[in-house]
């Protein structure tokens, strides 16, 4: 019987690969899985290896956008804590624009690369998810450095700590939605400008 990695991981992998490289790259991973990893480690550990490799591709594809997304959130938090204001309109408009813009570009890029709209969903989700980790770690680091009474008052005045740690996680769904919309656009543009559909998963 031919060893086969988890189908969902295979599908996920294809979403983050360039359309023109998807078959050769997934073929390399499949060959390594069947020729080296599966015989040496067995089914469940080989599957775990395949999943971890796939997550590596996902992290690489979303890392840049997540750094911008999370970085913008940390910058906004720093500004609110260290330079308090009563009027948050401008700050909100700027940080929201950066966040939505980043998700849109990430989704567009992903949709373009793979020629699949679902790539935009994954890009939006991964950007918001990894970005949330950056945001939370950044906020914890900031809190470790600045926690004097003045800063703590500024934190309370800008929504409190709970908002800082929960808001990034609440952006996962909007991230997926914005990424999907942008992914549809990116995939459509790629298909119009460079015809040829993405190759389907080749089953053993």
């Amino acid at each position: 019987m031919t060893a086969t990695p988890p189908e969902w991981a295979e599908a996920l992998l294809r979403l983050v690969l360039d359309r023109d490289h998807a078959d050769s790259v997934s073929g390399d991973l499949l060959e390594e899985y069947r020729a080296t990893v599966h015989p040496a480690r067995g089914q469940s550990r080989a599957d775990r290896w395949y999943v971890m490799q796939t997550f590596g591709y996902v992290a690489r594809s979303a890392g840049f956008w997540a750094a911008i997304f999370g970085g913008a959130f940390v910058a906004r938090t720093s500004l609110d804590w260290l330079a308090p204001t009563d009027d948050f309109h401008v700050r909100s408009a700027v940080s929201t624009s950066i966040g939505v813009g980043t998700l849109m570009v990430a989704g567009l890029w992903a949709g373009w690369r793979s020629s699949r709209f679902a790539a935009g969903t994954l890009a939006g989700l991964a950007t918001a998810g990894f970005g949330a980790v950056v945001s939370i770690v950044g906020a914890v680091a900031l809190l470790a450095v600045a926690h004097d009474p003045g800063t703590m008052a500024a934190i309370r005045g800008s929504g409190g700590l709970a908002e800082v740690f929960t808001l990034p996680l609440m952006l996962l769904l909007p991230g997926a939605i914005v990424g999907t919309v942008a992914g549809v656009a990116g995939a459509a543009v790629r298909r119009v400008l460079s015809p040829g559909s993405p190759s389907p998963t080749i089953n053993p």
Binding site: D23, S24, V25, G27, D28, L30, Y57, R60, I202, N203
Partner: protein, 109 residues
């Protein structure tokens, strides 16, 4: 301006040189793992190959698939003139940095 390569880029390019006609993705991955003597993520190698190709240092062509790959094609890589130049310039730069120093370095150096 000279292309000064990072260590991982050098490892990937030198793997392609060593493998010659057999330099496809998985073979490059295995060669890099052996030479660096550590586990290397396939994604790191593919991302580097992608970047080197975009920079014009390597070229690629699709080859045939095999049953173990479920028929998926292999992508074979070869160095382009700019890739050879970048490797030579990087080696020259490193040798220039080390010239006049004993190796290995000790605390008394």
């Amino acid at each position: 301006m000279a292309d000064i390569l990072g260590a991982f880029e050098q490892a990937v390019l030198l793997a392609i040189v060593r493998l010659g006609e057999d330099a496809y993705g998985r073979a490059v991955l295995k060669e890099v793992q052996v030479r660096l003597d550590r586990d290397v993520a396939a994604g790191a190698v593919h991302a580097t190959l992608d970047r080197l190709e975009n920079k014009g240092l390597v070229g690629s062509r699709l080859g045939s698939g095999t049953p173990i790959r479920s028929g998926r094609p292999r992508r074979f890589y070869r160095l382009r003139p700019r890739g050879f130049r970048a490797l030579n310039e990087t080696r020259a730069a490193v040798e220039s940095l080390w010239r006049g120093l004993d190796w290995p370095l000790g605390e008394s150096t």
